[in-house]
């Protein structure tokens, strides 16, 4: 097993007991461990159909032929792999917090990707700023874990692509369906609504992990301040007092409730997490409760 600074061996060992659980059944690409909508060669019977010329005679149900004097072919369920997509927000706003929100996102992606790999699923990790023509690497199988970890380690929060554009590009790059984990702070001034609508239209089993740092949830500021947005460098002048902090908290709670309701209405799984939460706890506790892993 490869080692990584993202996840310690103990966590990796615990993760080996998990599997991804999708609420939807998708077509896979390769033979795998998940039931597919495609009829195939597993041991699980699915249906009959009339024999057609060229069908493999091994699947003709001879007992039925003896009774009815007609040829029927037995169909079996196919077991295929699952596509797991992890879409990371690598904007500069993710480089805040302690540890940073981006570090937290890397760990979460590593953990969930590792679960996918060990269950023979196809795992693809991309960032919002990924080029439209160059899809990110996809891995399959346990032996690719170290490549995935290495890929994650090399990512840096310095992209400027907006959430909307990033999600659209992801959709264009990846036509298939599967499970999508979007990890972002959703702090896009152009709004999150368009991106979420697009995700919803893709009919993927999408999870939106809304990652916020402690300084966003409980800002520790005071006095006359000139707040500078790290992404567009826009300045906002405030004089911080207790009434303003209360008003900020009301705005934050209203914003979170709004996002939750927006995602819920469109069949997206919404999770709001704190960057101070360890990745292990995120997977074993939060994602498990949400049904992504079991």
């Amino acid at each position: 097993m490869s080692t990584s600074t993202l996840l310690n061996p103990t966590t990796l060992a615990r993760l080996e007991a998990l599997d991804l659980a999708s609420r939807k059944i998708f077509l896979g690409r390769f033979k795998g461990e998940r039931r597919s909508t495609r009829k195939g060669r597993s041991v699980e019977f699915a249906d009959y159909r009339n024999y057609a010329q060229g069908d493999d005679l091994r699947f003709v149900d001879w007992n039925l032929y003896a009774r009815l004097d007609r040829l029927f072919v037995k169909l079996f369920l196919e077991e295929e792999d699952l596509h797991l997509y992890v879409l990371l927000d690598a904007s500069r706003s993710m480089d805040f917090g302690s540890p940073t929100k981006f570090r937290c996102a890397q760990q979460l992606a590593a953990a969930i990707g590792f679960v996918g790999l060990i269950r023979a699923h196809r795992v693809r990790i991309e960032t919002l700023g990924q080029s439209l023509r160059n899809p990110g690497p996809a891995w399959r199988g346990r032996h690719n874990a170290w490549r995935m970890f290495d890929f994650l380690e090399r990512l840096a929060p310095n992209e400027t692509t907006s959430l909307d554009v990033g999600v659209r590009n992801f959709g264009l790059r990846n036509a298939g369906r599967g499970v999508l984990l979007l990890i972002s702070d959703l702090m896009d001034k152009q709004g999150y609504e368009s991106a979420m609508r697009y995700l919803s239209a893709r009919r993927m089993d999408a999870y939106v992990v809304h990652l916020l740092s402690r300084e966003e949830l409980r800002p520790d500021v005071a006095g006359d301040l000139r707040l500078i947005d790290c992404e567009d460098e826009a300045a906002t002048e405030i004089t911080v007092g207790e009434p303003l902090l209360r008003a900020y908290d009301r705005t934050l709670q209203s914003y979170l409730a709004e996002v939750r309701e927006f995602c819920g209405r469109r069949g997206l799984n919404y999770l709001q997490v704190d960057d101070s939460m360890p990745a292990e706890r995120l997977v074993f506790d939060v994602l498990r409760r949400q049904g992504l892993v079991r």
Binding site: K189, D224, D229
Partner: protein
């Protein structure tokens, strides 16, 4: 609005520089600490949420800047000394004469003319500059200084507000005299004893404003002719009125229980109208009539004429008391819609004859006709020295005292008549006796000489007389007056220079002395004339503000006069059984009481045709001496300074700015 060059051109750079400095300082004033944050999304939403509910909050970010710039702009405008063309009081001293006579209660100017005059004066007081002083005088029948010269606007305003409506007639003369420090003195007060007035002004220094409807007689005092008051007419020229201008009640001579009440109604500028006239005695309705008052204005041409209508009430069983007539005609002036008269019980006149022994006078007073009219008392001249005589005089016991061949030491407080003697005092002189004087004329217009003729009368001897100035000759002969009448205060003295008989009781004239003609007629005239007030209602009209002589006995300390409003005024200044009552400022009946007993009554009526004619002439004028002063509607054109409001605006803006800054710092 315009400005004056109160600042040099370069000085304008100062406010401009101040504005620019504030503009710069506004953006530099807060040094904020820059903080790099993941996103300002939520912070912006927070701030916008706080602003979204109020429209003005859109400007909140820059409202402090705006207010500071506004403050500087207002200060600059204040420095510019803004002014506008307007009217202003000029000069240092003003006298405001405010008419509070009866006609000023007319409601053609809402609420009343007096209120309108007061509001105009208050507006002028507001315009007074610092250092200016003013005096407020209200005038009706007499003038009253409400406040002497003062520069305290608050005192002036209070004095104006405290001016009350009176029911008096209007006279400008007193008010103008007061302005020049020559007030009209009460009768009997010596000029030298008059207190010096502190409100004397140089009539040519102070500006005098007269606020009145102009319903007063021309000022004839030539000494006031130099004054040039500004006359501001109050009221309209189209207002009309119906008013009671006369009301009298008389008992019938033949049937003393029967009385006739005559009400005279004048109409001015009114259309024809049906009105109700009520007759009341002691506030009890005893008769009412609907009367058709004729039009006093031609509706088509607008020409106004005064009309007069008399209404006669006859009451068979006339009660004694205060009679009142009420007119309900719905006109805008109500003070003249009522009139009062007192009907006293029938009483005979009281006559005292002081004589050493006289046949014809006693005979004339003994006739049945004379006895019906008077109660005569006879005494010899010694009676004049007695205490009884003095007490009777003090009590006002006699209406007429006849002195035959004797005279008192001092003039009595009663009407007096002298035969063959002269009254005490220096005013009367006797000429040289003449034989057979030739009578030329008798004063037929005098009530004493009614039905008296000296034609074919021969007088053997007589002594011509001359009385004090103002006396009237009742019987005039070629050699001088044989009978003279002279007014003395409220009394009248009649002196004969003719003796009816000599010492030997020989007749000196062929004038019929008995049988109801001649001398007897004269005596009858005398008792009727001097006793008339006691027999009929008092014909003399007491107007508001006039003084009333009140006869009181020797128990003077208990007498009070109860006014129509129930106000009780003790009588003071009693002289020889008569007190003078001055507080006749209200219309209606007054009662003279001693303890709880009513001694007498008198009434105060307006009965003034001029006051009942409230319309202000179309082009009103004041007549002072030979001068005519035209009404002035426009004040002096002047520049009114307006920099103070702008300075106040600066302070207000600074206060508001401070408040907003405080609220924002707390957010």
């Amino acid at each position: 609005m315009n400005g004056s060059q109160s600042l040099a051109p370069w000085s304008w750079l100062v406010p401009l520089a101040a504005g620019a400095a504030i503009f710069a300082l506004y953006f530099l004033k807060t040094r904020r600490k820059p903080v790099l944050v993941p996103s300002t999304l939520l912070w912006r939403r927070t701030i916008e949420d706080q602003r979204v509910n109020a429209l003005w909050q859109r400007l909140r970010k820059s409202v402090l800047l705006l207010m500071q710039l506004l403050a500087v702009a207002a200060a600059a405008v204040a420095l510019f000394r803004p002014s506008w063309q307007g009217s202003i009081l000029r000069g240092g001293q003003y006298v405001f004469l405010i008419d509070n006579s009866a006609a000023m209660a007319t409601t053609d100017v809402a609420p009343t003319r007096l209120d309108e005059a007061k509001s105009r004066v208050l507006a002028l007081i507001d315009q007074m500059g610092s250092g200016d002083s003013a005096m407020v005088v209200s005038f009706a029948a007499s003038a009253k200084v409400e406040v002497a010269f003062t520069d305290s606007r608050e005192r002036l305003r209070r004095a104006v507000r405290e001016i009350r409506q009176t029911a008096e007639t209007s006279s400008l003369t007193d008010a103008l005299r007061l302005c020049v420090g020559r007030p009209t003195l009460e009768p009997g007060v010596d000029d030298a004893a008059a207190p010096p007035t502190e409100h004397v002004v140089d009539a040519h220094d102070a500006r005098i404003f007269v606020f009145s409807d102009g319903n007063f007689a021309p000022v004839t005092d030539e000494e006031l002719a130099g004054l040039q008051p500004q006359f501001i007419p109050i009221g309209t020229s189209t207002v009309g009125n119906f008013g009671v201008t006369r009301f009298a009640v008389r008992r019938s001579i033949d049937a003393p229980r029967r009385a006739q009440a005559l009400a005279r109604i004048h109409g001015f500028q009114m259309p024809a109208r049906r009105a109700t006239l009520e007759l009341r005695v002691d506030d009890r309705l005893i008769d009412a009539r609907e009367i058709d008052l004729p039009a006093s204005r031609d509706e088509s041409t607008g020409v106004a004429t005064a009309v007069k209508q008399d209404v006669l009430f006859t009451v068979d069983d006339a009660p004694d008391g205060v009679w009142e007539v009420r007119l309900e005609a719905g006109d805008p002036f109500s003070l003249d819609d009522r009139g009062w008269a007192v009907l006293s019980p029938p009483a005979k006149s009281r006559l005292l004859l002081v004589s050493p022994g006289e046949r014809f006078l006693a005979a004339a007073l003994a006739t049945s006709e004379a006895r019906r009219w008077c109660d005569a008392t006879f005494h010899d001249p010694e009676f004049l020295k007695s205490e009884e005589y003095r007490a009777a005089l003090a009590a006002g016991a006699f209406d007429l005292i006849v002195f035959d061949r004797c005279r008192p030491e001092t003039m009595p407080e009663a009407n007096s008549m002298y035969f063959d003697s002269l009254p005490p005092g220096d005013g009367w002189r006797r000429e040289t006796a003449v034989d057979v004087p030739q009578v030329l004329d008798t004063a037929q217009s005098h009530p004493l000489m009614q039905n008296i003729s000296f034609r074919d009368v021969v007088i053997a001897a007589a002594t011509p007389l001359s009385g004090p100035s103002g006396s009237q000759a009742l019987v005039d002969a070629r050699q001088g007056a044989l009978c003279v009448s002279s007014a003395r205060g409220g009394f009248e003295d009649v002196v004969w220079g003719l003796a009816l008989e000599d010492e030997k009781r020989a007749l000196q004239t062929n004038w019929p002395l008995v049988d109801g003609a001649g001398f007897e007629q004269f005596v009858l005239n005398a008792v009727q004339y001097f006793g008339r007030a006691r027999l009929n209602g008092d014909d003399e009209v007491v107007r508001p503000g006039n003084s009333v002589p009140v006869a009181v006995g020797d128990r003077t300390e208990d007498y009070v006069v109860v006014g129509p409003d129930g106000r009780r005024t003790p009588l003071r200044s009693i002289h020889q059984g008569t007190a003078t009552f001055y507080a006749t400022d209200r219309l209606g009946p007054y009662r003279v009481s001693a303890g709880e007993t009513t001694q007498s009554r008198f009434v105060v009526n307006l009965f003034d045709v001029q006051e009942s004619q409230p319309a202000v002439p179309a082009s009103p004028q004041l007549h002072i001496g030979h001068e005519k002063i035209t009404a002035q509607a426009v004040w002096d054109a002047a520049r009114l300074e307006g920099w103070r409001p702008f300075l106040l605006l600066v302070l207000a803006l600074l206060a508001i700015e401070w408040y907003i800054y405080g609220v924002r710092a707390a957010v």
